[in-house]
Symmetry: C2
Subunit: 258 residues, 2 copies
């Protein structure tokens, strides 16, 4: 299979590698910035391009892996007819590709990608969608080569999954970052928190998060909450986050009881 | 060593078990509710009590493991003289015990405890503090029997560590709970998120959280952020959390750039 990748960021990089390792050929990598295209294309033995006039029109699959807001424009710049065209976005509806080809779909790997770290693609859920059943069959066959977990969802479900992923991944990572900053400001070693973080994750492998919630908020331990807000008094943004998240813990607990 | 535990909650339970496994004798477990005291005392071959008149005054160590706001009152109810007395709170200053004995200290295990799950105490940092060096030496010797990681911090540092732990543990667990609720509302399987959660944790084992932050906020991907807020439009509390956390990601990134 010949593949053209539009984009050169994290998702483009990890998908390119995964397809390459699965024995597929990456024909071209396109980016508006040729040096970005080259950086990725070189690692994939692909041709870097920055001009749509140079696009290989005979590929089997065109993968748009760019910022959400650029997807529609790039799809139309491709000027495809009936070639298979997918985007990789969690939150962009399939309809963003309507009119750009007769065979359109979504190929959304649900994972957090950094350029510095490789991931085992076999374990990554790939969420797929297509405009017609035959295209879905094609996309499923492609996804099956990369992952053991291929799931069809519609655009609205995929968006909900993406929002949940932002809470469970991006926001949690940020909380670790805030914790680290707080410790370093006090001259304390962030490593001290590592066993706690590990246990937090270990607990939810086997249990619902709501059932294993701990901390001052769920105990409604006002003395501790006040002591913490006192410590954060010079940091209004962090105090506000602390208060909002504590309230949210109490509210979720009530909803789960109701 | 003979130990009396005041309290019967998660910390009392896990500390009791850990001391027991380390070969110490738990003489008594006190709780205002005798059935709670009995439930824990029975597992530790200890005597349950609910009345301070029955307190064994010859123990080597008295551990107060109750809600923060009750620590001071219980310390004074004990009417000790020069017996070793500690509390186990992250956010309560050592001074809360002043006047309750001539030998006071803090013994704070930095971990998230649920009754349903056992933990390996050897890996848990124990934060200690004492009113005089000789007491610190005694407390350190006791802590060394349970954990490989014993750290002396003052009350203000310990409180900062506790706040950081609330962000890194309690709040992250809550975000997993919110993600689960969101998925279940849409009829989606929370299991889909597990590989993502695992990778999120795996990434920060070797990297600073700030350097591996991903997601729409750090990309300043307004199209995705707006799509997510649109999905959350019927849930003002969740929308607000989404907005505040996204803003906090941008702000932390700016601070880390200096």
């Amino acid at each position: 299979m010949n593949i053209v990748i539009l984009g050169s960021g994290n998702i483009a990089t990890h998908l390119g590698r995964a397809f390459k390792m699965a024995g597929q050929r990456i024909a071209q990598v396109w980016s508006r910035d040729l040096s970005h295209a080259s950086a990725l294309a070189d690692t994939l033995a692909a041709e870097p391009i920055d001009n749509m006039f140079d696009l290989d029109r005979s590929a089997d699959l065109y993968i748009i892996a760019v910022k959400d807001e650029a997807i529609r424009d790039i799809a139309f710049e491709l000027k495809l007819n009936d070639q298979l065209l997918v985007h990789t976005s969690g939150s962009t509806p399939l309809t963003a590709l309507e009119g750009a080809s007769s065979k359109i779909g979504v190929f959304y790997p649900l994972q957090t990608f950094s350029k510095i770290k490789t991931v085992d693609f076999r374990q990554i859920p790939i969420i797929i969608e297509a405009n017609v059943p035959e295209v879905l069959t094609s996309i499923r066959a492609i996804a099956d080569r990369l992952s053991e977990k291929v799931v069809e969802l519609n655009s609205e479900q995929r968006k909900a999954l993406h929002v949940a992923a932002v809470f469970a991944c991006n926001f949690t990572n940020h909380l670790f970052g805030l914790a680290q900053e707080l410790l370093e400001e006090k001259g304390l070693d962030y490593e001290l928190l590592k066993p706690l973080i590990k246990e937090t994750l270990s607990k939810i492998e086997m249990n619902d998060p709501v059932s294993v919630q701990t901390g001052p908020a769920i105990r409604e331990d006002q003395a501790t909450i006040q002591a913490h807000l006192e410590l954060l008094r010079d940091n209004p943004a962090l105090s506000e986050l602390y208060t909002k998240l504590s309230q949210s813990i109490v509210n979720l607990h009530k909803r789960s009881q109701g």
